[in-house]
Structures are given as structure tokens and as C-alpha cells.
């Protein structure tokens, strides 16, 4: 899933850094705040939701557009993600059209004509 998301994001013109769990993602963001984070829910060490809550408390932590990209597809998870400060939510399975349209929605890219 990380590979697929990475390929799609790179096709849209983004440089990508990968982190295998929430803690590593948090450390990565502290060093260099990215423009966007694609985030899984279930990760070892620190979950996606915990990561998001901690990220938003960081200085400049409101800058990245955070998009969940996960198998959890019920309204409770969607609502919790939004409450924690997620900008968008992608339920698996997804295709590049869905990722692209979510990137447009959060303003990371312009609609392709």
C-alpha cells in the first residue's frame, strides 16, 4: 500500500519520504515539516490517530495536509479522524483517480483540465 501510494504521489509531482510507523513519522516531521502526510490508521509503536494528534501540537504542525489512507471505513473512524484534524480520508481500496481527487480537494494540486 505504501508503494502504491508513493507511486501515485510521485506521479503527481511530489517528493516522498516513507516512515514505517507513527513514531518515525513524527520524528521525520519534527526534522522537516512536509506539505502533506498520507497516513495509515494501524501502525506499530504509534497509531495514525496518535501521530496526527501529536503532529497538530507541533509548531507548524498545522501546515501539512493530512490524508488518512486506510481500510477502516466506518463513520466512527471517519469522524474521529476529522476531529483529530485530518483534512481528508481515503478508504481502501483506492485508485489513482481517488487520490488525485482528494489532493485537489485539499488544495495540494489543481484540477487537471
Amino acid at each position: 500500500m505504501r508503494k502504491v501510494a508513493r507511486r501515485i504521489a510521485e506521479d503527481l509531482g511530489f517528493d516522498c519520504v516513507e516512515a514505517e510507523d507513527g513514531q518515525k513519522a513524527y520524528e521525520t516531521c519534527k526534522l522537516a515539516m512536509p506539505d502533506a502526510v498520507l497516513l495509515d490508521w494501524n501502525m506499530p509503536v504509534m497509531s495514525g490517530l496518535e501521530f496526527l494528534e501529536k503532529l497538530r501540537q507541533l509548531k507548524n504542525g498545522s501546515h501539512p495536509k493530512v490524508i488518512f489512507c486506510t481500510t477502516e471505513n466506518d463513520t466512527k473512524h471517519l469522524q474521529r479522524a476529522l476531529d483529530a484534524g485530518a483534512d481528508e480520508y481515503i478508504m481502501k481500496p483506492f485508485d489513482n483517480e481517488i487520490i488525485e481527487s482528494k489532493f485537489v480537494i485539499v488544495g495540494l494540486i489543481e484540477e487537471s483540465a
Binding site: L78, P93, E97, I98, V104, I105
Partner: protein, 287 residues
């Protein structure tokens, strides 16, 4: 598909729906027509094609045309027209329809309904601005099947993720099972459904404050495009708005652009002025 076989489908589609098929779309035909051949019990596509060369059952012809015309659509397709509707068009309509408090929209060739519902969602976003107002959307399509889906308002997880912000999904849809979501009855009540072929007489549909006919006319040939635009113009109120697809132009003196890039047009004598008209007028005054 053989050229001669392609010809018969091309002819059928042109005659029944006005759409012009080009040869490089023949791959589409195979994938769309196979399910129809199966449904009608033909052993192969060739067997069905042979029957179509003769005097076919009109229900078979309908199924074939429906399969070939089904439009690919998504929520908020191209984004901008819908934002423009929410931020500008609704504001203009509010000024001129204050006495009726009713806005009538026609979505032509709206297929499975993402377009009319996107307009409904934008209307809802204006909230208290339009308290007591009624948005009445007529959604038409040639396909009975597509309109049925639209009427029920159930969309797959794939469909609700294409173009639809998750915030609006949570607010206006209910999850019906693991992979399907249904739009709220509030939104469903805004949209009326009717099968309609754009080749037919439109006058019985009445007049509209806004007509949305996106990504259809481009598939007609020039004479039919012209004729259809004339007919659409007759169904539009004098101060109404016509939404066309990206890059589609009316090629018709009856319309002038309100915002060409976003595909929004008005009748020549409409009182509405585009933002770009204003600086031009000022420039003229300065000279």
C-alpha cells in the same frame, strides 16, 4: 470488432442518441456490449450483431444504446463549476428570484446523479442564506438504469470517494453496508427524475433558471450540436445560466460567456454581466 460491424453500432447510436462514435472507441463497445449479448442469450457478440443487421426487437436496441451511452461521472466533476454555482450563481439567483423563493435547475444527461446531487450539496452549504427556499432539480437521462440508481441514491465506496469531500460524505450520507453509502432523503427530495432523450422535443419540460449539460454536446456532430443548443436556449429563462463541460463552446450567437473557462454561459440579452465585462466597460469609459 470488424469495420462493417462497427458501422451498424455507429449508425444505431447516432440515430437513437445523437452520439457520434469514432473508430478508436471500438474497444469500449466490446466491453459494454458483451453483458447485453449475454443478457439476451446470444452466444457471442457477433450473433447479436447479426440480429441487429436485421429487424431487431426494440428493447434490444434500447439496451444496446443504453449500454453505449452510459456516461462516466463523478461528484463535483471539475470542481470549479460547483464552487461557482455555490459562491456566485446562487447569489445572483437569490437577487432575482426573491419573490418565488424557488430555483429550477435541469441537469441534462445526468446519468447516475452525481451532478444534480453535487449541486444540491452546494445549495445546502449556503445554509441559512436560503432558508425557506426550494431547489428543484430535474435530472434526466436516456438510461432508465442510471436514473434508478440516482433515485435510490446509493453509491459504492469508490464512487463516494471520487471528488466528494469526506466532510460532506459524513454529513449527508449514511453507510448502508460495508461498501455502499446512501445520500440523505433531504437531498433525494430535491431531485426529480425523468427519462429523456436530448433529440426529443423539450418544450414540455418547462423553463429553467439553470441548465447543466456537461460533456454531452461534444459528442454530437456540429449540426446536431447547434440544434440542441437552440432548444436548450428556448428552455432557459431570459436571465438563466447554461453550464457546459470544460472546453465546450456554444458556437451559437444566442449565448455569451459569463465565465468561459468554467463553462458558464448566459443568453445574449441576459442582465447578468461577467466579472471580465466590468473592466472592459471601464476601459471604454476611460477612452
Amino acid at each position: 470488432m470488424r469495420i462493417t460491424d462497427f458501422d451498424i453500432y455507429q449508425h444505431l447510436l447516432k440515430e437513437k442518441s445523437g452520439l457520434v462514435l469514432v473508430q478508436d472507441q471500438s474497444y469500449l463497445l466490446d466491453s459494454r456490449l458483451m453483458p447485453i449479448a449475454k443478457k439476451w442469450g446470444f452466444s457471442s457478440l457477433d450473433a447479436m450483431t447479426a440480429v441487429l443487421h436485421g429487424v431487431p426487437d426494440k428493447d434490444l436496441v434500447y439496451d444496446v444504446v443504453e449500454a453505449m451511452t452510459t456516461k462516466d461521472t463523478s461528484f463535483f466533476r471539475d470542481t470549479w463549476p460547483f464552487h461557482m454555482f455555490r459562491d456566485e450563481i446562487l447569489t445572483m439567483l437569490k437577487k432575482v428570484r426573491g419573490s418565488q423563493k424557488k430555483i429550477k435547475i435541469w441537469c441534462a444527461a445526468a446519468a447516475t446523479g452525481q451532478e444534480p446531487y453535487s449541486l444540491g450539496l452546494m445549495f445546502k452549504e449556503r445554509g441559512a442564506d436560503f432558508a425557506g427556499w426550494k431547489l428543484d432539480i430535474l435530472s434526466t437521462d436516456i438510461s432508465v438504469e442510471a436514473l434508478e440508481q440516482s433515485k435510490i441514491g446509493i453509491y459504492s465506496q469508490f464512487e463516494v470517494q471520487r471528488g466528494l469531500p469526506v466532510r460532506l460524505l459524513l454529513k449527508h450520507f449514511k453507510q448502508v453496508d460495508d461498501i455502499n453509502w446512501q445520500i440523505s432523503s433531504d437531498l433525494r427530495k430535491m431531485v426529480r427524475h425523468q427519462t429523456f432523450n436530448l433529440l426529443d422535443n423539450m418544450s414540455a419540460l418547462g423553463k429553467f433558471d439553470m441548465i447543466v449539460c456537461r460533456n454531452v454536446l461534444g459528442e454530437f456532430d456540429a449540426p446536431l450540436r447547434k440544434k440542441t443548443l437552440e432548444k436548450l436556449g428556448n428552455q432557459l429563462e431570459k436571465d438563466g445560466f447554461l453550464f457546459l463541460g470544460n472546453g465546450e463552446k456554444p458556437e451559437n450567437d444566442a449565448f455569451r460567456p459569463l465565465h468561459e473557462k468554467r463553462g458558464v454561459w448566459v443568453l445574449q440579452d441576459s442582465p447578468h454581466r461577467s466579472a471580465s465585462d466590468v473592466p472592459q466597460a471601464l476601459a471604454k469609459g476611460a477612452v
